[in-house]
Amino acid sequence: MSVITLQVDGRDVAVPAGSTLLQAIRAAGLSVPTLCDLEGLEPVGACRLCLVELEGSQRLLPACASEASEGQVIRTDTAQLQGYRRMAVELFFAEGNHVCAFCVANGTCELQDVAVAVGMDHSRFPYQYPQRAVDASHPRFSLDHNRCILCTRCVRVCDQIEGAHVWDVAERGSDCRIVAGLDQHWGEVDACTSCGKCVDVCPTGALYAKEDTTAEKHPHPERAGQLRRAREQRQWTP
């Protein structure tokens, strides 16, 4: 296996060729905030929180979806990046209906976490109060669109890990929303195996088990990566 070396925030780090910048950043003992990225799922580079600066380039690179290459000099925490990240998190809060106080994910929410990480003490952008629905048609789970940040983890885990492709995205722009089946009620979609992986990986309180109320959600985002590793490394094959 060939190895490449690069520099992240002044630290030299060596990673296997083919690693992403995000893996290199973590290998260097550093972190950048992420929302859409999840180990085990194909990256989409949609939340823009993991953007980093590459020396010699004007363009910012999404660390999750960019391959690390030899000799790169990466900066992950400049004042410019901090400013952009905070604005991105404010945009997330302002575009949905996020009320942490009574959210099922209060305390375990990744959006709440990144707000802390980027130092967001308030949103400078006015809240939009979009009219969104709750789909409680599934016997065990619910989807509250008010809390959805369109990270598409549910779409990807269902397609790439479970193989059912129950979820997809409909509409465009600020009208985008996650849909089940052919834009049906979730409970009516035969393809759904009720495996709960979408609930496990949802970073917010958008997807949750019905028995959970305020601050009772127990997400398991690590399961996507565990399942993928198990399959690829045939860990459960005798």
């Binding site: 009320v99 106080a101 709440q112 802390v116 130092g119 003490d121 308030h122 949103s123 109060y129």
Partner: protein, 200 residues
């Protein structure tokens, strides 16, 4: 920076801080949490003058020359708006105190009830006082007594400039104390990290 500028010599007695707390559209939970400061309340009482507060003062008119004001709640009606404008003029350091002041939070949920051509105030009043009432239902109308609802519930900083934000629903007593204590010695608190910053 707050009006009571720190003295050059720390030993020198500084003027007592004039502290206010204000309750706009909120559940009073932030004030309850404030009361959870327990024994720190004694230290506070020794160090500041509480010049206006729903829980620690009988003053009905917001006074002049306030150093620090903790504002709980969103701006939902004309009284809230008037008080916000007044306190901004008379206060050196305004703190959005809790999630309702910062994001409109739960009171702001009525903003979801607007429909084209009908603001959320009208919609919720009609729902509450006409649609769900018996035949005698009527919209509340008592000018000068019952304050009129604003068309939309707003966070404090969309109405007046805010100097500091202390999130939480409510902010815990520890968080409140960590925010107030530096103010007593003329320093600005650092609102960062999970212990100080988390919503909810």
């Amino acid at each position: 920076m707050i009006a009571a500028t720190p003295a050059q010599d720390p030993a020198q007695a500084r003027p007592r801080l004039r502290l206010a707390t204000v309750w706009l559209a909120g559940c009073s939970g932030c004030h309850m949490s404030f009361l959870d400061l327990d024994e720190f309340l004694f230290e506070l009482a020794a160090a500041v003058d509480i010049v206006y507060s729903p829980v620690a003062s009988d003053t009905k008119i917001y006074p002049e020359q306030v150093d620090v004001c903790l504002v709980e709640g969103a701006v939902a009606n004309v009284d809230n708006l008037q008080l916000a404008l007044t306190l901004r003029q008379r206060t050196a350091l305004v703190i959005s105190f809790g999630d309702c002041a910062i994001s409109a939070n739960v009171p702001g949920l009525r903003n979801l009830c607007s429909a084209p051509g009908r603001d959320s105030a009208r919609t919720v009043l009609e729902r509450g006082y006409l649609e769900l009432a018996d035949a005698s239902g009527q919209l509340p109308f008592a000018p000068g007594i019952v304050p009129e609802l604003l068309p939309k519930v707003l966070p404090l900083h969309e109405v007046i400039p805010v100097d500091l934000y202390l999130p939480g629903c409510p902010p815990s007593a520890e968080r409140i104390r960590a925010a107030i204590a530096p103010l007593l010695v003329g320093q600005r608190p650092r609102i960062e990290g999970s212990s100080m910053l988390r919503f909810g």
